[in-house]
Symmetry: C2
Amino acid sequence: MRDKARAQTTVGEDLLFLTDDQLRRGIEAMFFAYRAFTADPDMILADLDYGRAHHRALHFINREPGLTVTSLLAVLGVTKQSLNRVLRTLIEDDLVQSRVGIRDRRERQLHLTEKGVSLERRLSEAQRVRMRTAYRNAGPQAVAGFRQVLEAMMDPETRSQYQAMKDLPEER
Amino acid sequence: MRDKARAQTTVGEDLLFLTDDQLRRGIEAMFFAYRAFTADPDMILADLDYGRAHHRALHFINREPGLTVTSLLAVLGVTKQSLNRVLRTLIEDDLVQSRVGIRDRRERQLHLTEKGVSLERRLSEAQRVRMRTAYRNAGPQAVAGFRQVLEAMMDPETRSQYQAMKDLPEER
DNA sequence: TTGGAAAGTCAACAAGGCTGTCCTATCAAG
DNA sequence: CTTGATAGGACAGCCTTGTTGACTTTCCAA
């Protein structure tokens, strides 16, 4: 404990960044940063009687129009019942359209309406503003490291999912 | 929109990392990573009928023994009523001690009991394991970038708080 | 001695997780 | 054509953790 500074040193490699203290700093940074990260869209949502869960649904439907309820479920990692409550209000409020599946009529393919697109844009823009500022202040190298650590922190299956979904459908 | 790749380029600086697409990737990485980040302690907590809020209280009391309820409130950013509910169960269960303040007898100074220290250690160790692996896999440079971006993302007041609280009380 | 800060408590409410159960529509295989 | 499995939806009820608002007690400092 006294010599935690010298813990686990390998050939010529300085592992000071792996001390418990450094890890704790990272843990706290995650907590504070995530709180800020969600704060901006939360304020917009509060006015509209929506919550974070609605934002998440809008985000992933926007990113992959036509995705099924089951896929969305998998991405969000919540129960069907929990998602359904959120989805129902979004559909009632005409932000999301649920269309019968093309290949399989049991499935429902989810799309944003114009209203949905517009709210999604408003929410994600608020989030991007903060992200953009942070990125700019930190610089490209820091951003690369940021992304690397976050990826390394994910559960393996989530990471695969995340890495697989690189594409956003372009307007063409 | 077509030429988003060339958006905002300055003298010799490549700002590709600031495209909306890159920002979106970062936003999603935060979502997925944070979910993983909280998953490990959440599992331990579920068994004990505690929640994330209990963990957070334990964490910050451990980090700064003797801090007052008001300070803790400020750090956590929740209401007195919300914290109080959590704090009460922790005190009832003999994980936290609330002592009348020394300088100001209105204040309550919070300390972990041995039981509290032991649970805190268990929880934070679970979180550190993941963090340590991620750090190791990403390397020191990535970690530096990670921390830089997270700090840049915080609200200014939070960031000051965060930067000010570098020290953990050493066993002496 | 008195105003105000710190702390605590009660009540009520909402979001968004969860489990469990049940139902319908549909597909696919036998 | 039946039958089992899958996709989706709905309802009920529970929990945690956040919120507001109102009120009390304690106690410091002017």
